[in-house]
């Protein structure tokens, strides 16, 4: 019950009540954005944000750079493994 799903905010529906519309894989639904609105990130700047949607709330903004960085580490790990495999085969 603690899983969430990524979605993108496409419109602010009620700035006062902190409600916005998200698009989750084509399904649109209203969510509460209280968790992602701060002084540095006011309501208007939430449009286009990728967020983790959980029980009707945008719980967190998804950090695209961090996602890319994690995947890059794994990519590199794969390359290193391949190289090690090749070395081992060469040695045997």
């Amino acid at each position: 019950m603690c899983l969430g799903i990524p979605g993108q905010i496409i419109a602010i529906t009620d700035a006062d009540m902190l409600l916005a519309k998200v698009n989750v894989s084509g399904v649109k639904r209203e969510v509460n954005i209280a968790c992602i609105v701060t002084d540095d990130h006011p309501v208007d700047s939430c449009i286009d944000d990728w967020v983790l949607v959980h029980v009707g709330f945008a719980m967190s903004r998804i950090d695209e750079n961090e996602a890319t960085r994690t995947l890059a580490i794994l990519e590199e790990l794969g390359e290193v493994q391949q190289e090690l495999d090749a070395m081992q085969q060469g040695a045997s």
Partner: protein, 374 residues
């Protein structure tokens, strides 16, 4: 789907699995028993079974499926309390779908609904608040359960009800806290765990620091982990690296979601509405100090425990249940004497058989009806 498919890539899963096998091999001479790594969260248990992650792991690494399935750990008496509330004549009782099947001492919420109580499944506590707006002549109760992940949504809903002066909405607060629960697992004398995967979405709310004690006081590695298969494999690899290097630290694999300090608006809402309970009763684990929250006195008008007479029914777990030992990694689900026989998903006796996120249900549903002979 963006941020999902990339983290299910089989090529990357293969290289991670290889890296895991390599470390496990180099650790093997030093081990006297398999390494036991606990995933605390039921969401992780779900991913591990759905993607067959255990089958990809070397023999000397064992996953222990922790108590972090909030539905599973609901005591039977609490379900009876819910039904008592739901059977009040003017009440609409609302909750997440997962809670509907949990057995009480006589019936589940689903059966109570069939018997005529007005019980409705909602996707969000906000939907319950909507019901209250639309039905001013009814009392709408939302059964709030779950760890810190779901706590903010309940808190924000109560704050919204207060702002709008919606007086026919209340919360039956059964939220539980992660840290005291992990501590209870670590403090049990038969505990043999070597490392932890920390619940990513709890950390999203509370941040990294609350997990420090696991590294500092208990000297175990712990990695904050996301919910896709690559997240779990990468975190396991990170835990193993710590073990190999003799380090114990809190590391964060799930950086795309989890910030070191957690989520400030969510934490503020939680501390505004909730306070720690002295203790909370769990299925399978007994009573754990400080492991739950209740609503503050200032929100009594929205507190179902204050508005209604909650019977507070106490019913002991059946004697034959061994959920506590399974959760601590002392025994495997199939070692429990009633696993698959008296206790099965259709007719759960113990907590871990209740939802698909519980360890015993996960084993049973994935075809381990008895001990696997390797």
């Amino acid at each position: 789907m963006k941020f999902v498919d990339e983290f299910r890539d089989t090529g990357k899963a293969k290289s991670l699995t290889k890296a895991i096998h390599k470390i496990a091999q180099s650790l093997a001479p030093k081990l006297t028993k398999p390494l036991q790594i606990m995933e605390f969260c039921g969401g992780h248990t779900h991913t591990i079974f759905r993607y067959g992650i255990e089958q990809m792991l070397p023999d000397n690494i064992e996953m222990v499926h922790g108590p972090g399935c909030p539905v599973c750990v609901l005591p039977m008496g609490r379900v009876d309390d819910c039904i008592a509330l739901a059977e009040h004549p003017d009440v609409i009782f609302t909750t997440f779908g997962d809670a509907m099947r949990v057995p009480g001492s006589k019936k589940s919420l689903l059966q109570a609904k069939a018997d005529g109580a007005d019980i409705r499944m909602t996707y969000s506590p906000m939907d319950a608040l909507n019901l209250a707006r639309k039905n001013p002549d009814k009392e709408v109760i939302f059964f709030g359960l779950g760890f810190e992940t779901t706590m903010p949504s309940s808190a924000f809903t109560v704050l919204q009800a207060e702002r709008e002066g919606i007086s026919n909405f209340s919360l039956f607060c059964n939220h539980i806290t992660t840290v005291p629960t992990i501590k209870a697992v670590l403090d049990s004398p038969d505990m043999q765990l070597d490392g932890f995967l920390a619940p990513g979405h709890v950390a999203m709310v509370i941040g990294e620091r609350p997990f420090d004690f696991i590294a500092l006081d208990y000297h175990k590695p712990i990695v904050i982990t996301g919910f896709e298969p690559l997240d779990i494999l990468q975190s396991l690899w990170m835990v193993l690296q710590q073990i190999e290097q003799g380090r114990n630290a809190v590391e964060n694999q799930y950086t795309r979601i989890v910030h070191a300090n957690g989520n400030t608006p969510a934490l503020e809402a939680i501390s505004q509405v909730f306070e720690i309970r002295e203790f909370f009763e769990w299925r399978g684990l007994g009573s754990i100090d400080h492991s739950g929250v209740r609503m503050k006195e200032s929100y009594a008008a929205f507190d179902a425990e204050k508005k209604f007479a909650v019977p507070n029914i106490k019913i002991a777990d059946p004697k034959s249940c061994q959920c506590g030992e399974v959760v601590k990694g002392v025994i495997k689900p199939w070692d429990c004497k009633i696993f698959g026989s008296k206790c099965n998903p259709e007719n759960p006796m113990g907590a871990l058989m209740v939802s698909s996120e519980g360890a015993c249900a996960a084993y049973f549903n994935n075809g381990y009806h008895e001990r696997k002979t390797a």
